[in-house]
Symmetry: C2
Subunit: 343 residues, 2 copies
């Protein structure tokens, strides 16, 4: 039943990386076999591998791959350093990629076998953290929202595909469902790349969790209309002051949740909180190619030659965040909303 | 150069209705020849004919068609009444359709020729109103935003295709451009049916007005980031208290505009303001088929069997609306924002 029992999202086999190509879901299951750092960087760049915690694990495995190739083919230190740097910078917004890449790279002086062990330990820790944040987040939501089964809205994909284990925000949803504390999930489609429609609906379907797909622009209005009890999302980076970078569209949900007086909860591993980023203004928001917006799954939706602005992420100010839940703790950057505001 | 010089959006020819099929744009120009009320109702239902003012004109022409068929084929009064009722109810959210249908139906006792004259007068008045609200809205925006060329965000389609003439919100944008007071337009794609991507980009391209397509969920964040000077939209209905029903996604823009301290301006003909609707809670928000969300231009974007919630419109409270501009006046339901709010 569980998707990770069926499918390997990311793994290490015979000295190379295997990864599920997430651009092909839900209509095709395609496995990638990545035997070079360049192939891994390309897969990350085109979002075949995605989700902040999975990117962290992929960075760790990428260093193991580089160390192994360096040992086998006699790379010099400069070449290995360059490969590590290329990996660390493959996606600028998610902090996990840089962090786990650099952490595992610190083991390089101990040899390729030690690097491989460190990378596999990173993978295992990612899974453990997922289960712990899922349970903690579900407990927190039941505490703040009361006992009635919850109608939860989520954005993008934060399940096994993004985080290994149960996921982050989707792990919380899964834990709520296991506790009979979930009514259903509203899934934002998450344009332009439709991770909600393609990936989250697929994971929820595998788990037999009741869900409804909605257009992104409907989310804030359904919140206003009282059809949502809590918004639960993941993040690509949480700054030291609590500002949250996540998939484009997150900000509008946070604004609507504050206006409606419902909780807006961010679920991330500790490794996504970046003390080196003082606030959201210091986060690089990746701008991607315009054709992701002018096309949907390769089909043009605008006149030929239309130019698009494609901000792939947004930054939600800490003041709009009810809580950040990790494997270790619940932090409340802003006072919890107590009453609905009316206008 | 102007699109309405090239294409007939809606017209009356040899006793039947001709209409541009707006579901086929921008990649195909397909004209519909509608010779029965049922065919017109079907075209309205599937959004081949759309846009509140165009729906009003289509309702007027539909009554002319019904009156002509009734005279030719000897319908009894009950059959003619039923046809008028079917027309008036073809789309529940837009008030113009019901209003113009009923206004022209009042002429039925004077015979089919009088009905036809009344319908054509409705068409002409729609065009005149469009030009007047466009000029008035542009003047208003230059007054509240100052002299620098404006970066305007808009949602859905409100140009010639929706309103005849220049349009409503897009007419204001066109008037700003004519006055050299426009920097560029940010066009929300407007999922699920992509009227922004398909229709607004097409109209702006025809008019050689600089524009950039964005994902709907990016709109509120670009407003927060200071990349938008004003949001300008049309509406399907404005209630007596100033609440505004418009395409799903409008509410989130209004919320973000208020938060950022920029104007959120609604441009409509007087016929869209409905004194019989006291407030937004009385407006029926049309829910459409889920496959509009699970598919994009016929291509599935979610796993087979995924269920969707498809609220086609939303209601923005008057308190978030800076001004409603019509052919006759500017009304300010809420005090105009004077300062940016910070959090």
């Amino acid at each position: 039943m569980s998707s990770e029992a069926e499918l390997e999202v990311l793994g290490w086999r015979d000295g190379h990386i295997v990864a599920l190509d997430q651009t092909a879901l839900p209509h095709e299951i395609r496995m990638l076999h990545l035997t070079t750092v360049a192939a891994l960087v390309d897969a990350i760049g085109r979002l075949a591998i995605r989700g902040a915690p999975v990117l962290g694990a992929a960075g760790a495995l990428g260093v193991a791959l580089a160390a192994r190739l360096a040992e086998r083919d006699g790379w010099d230190a400069a070449r290995l350093d360059a490969a590590v740097k290329q990996l660390a910078e493959a996606r600028p917004t998610a902090v996990n990629l840089r962090r786990e890449t650099e952490a595992v790279a610190a083991v390089i002086p101990q040899g390729a076998a030690a690097v491989e062990a460190a990378a596999l330990a990173t993978m295992a820790a990612t899974v453990t953290a997922s289960h712990r944040m899922s349970e903690r987040g579900a407990r927190y939501l039941r505490e703040v929202c009361g006992p009635a089964p919850l109608r939860v809205e989520t954005h993008c994909n934060t399940g096994s595909l993004a985080c290994l284990g149960w996921g982050s925000a989707l792990g919380v949803i899964r834990a709520l469902n296991n506790d009979q504390a979930l009514a259903h999930v509203l899934v934002d489609e998450t344009r332009p790349l439709l991770q909600g429609a393609r990936l989250t609906c697929w994971e929820l379907d595998q788990l037999a969790i009741e869900h409804y797909l909605i257009a992104d622009a409907a989310g804030p209005f359904l919140i206003k209309e009282g059809l949502v009890d809590a918004v639960v999302v993941g993040a690509d980076r949480v700054a030291a002051n609590g500002d949250v970078a996540n998939k484009i569209g997150t900000y509008s949900l946070a604004l609507a949740a504050r206006q409606a007086g419902i909780p807006f909860v961010v679920v991330v591993p500790e490794s996504t909180i970046d003390p080196a980023t003082p606030d959201g203004r210091r986060i690089t928001v990746e701008r991607r190619a315009g054709d992701e917006v002018t096309h949907v799954l390769g089909v043009p939706v605008a006149p030929d030659g239309t130019r698009a602005l494609n901000y792939a992420f947004d930054v939600t100010p800490a003041a709009l965040v009810t809580a950040v839940v990790t494997e270790d703790r619940v932090t409340n950057p802003a006072p919890r909303p107590r009453t609905r505001s009316h206008f």
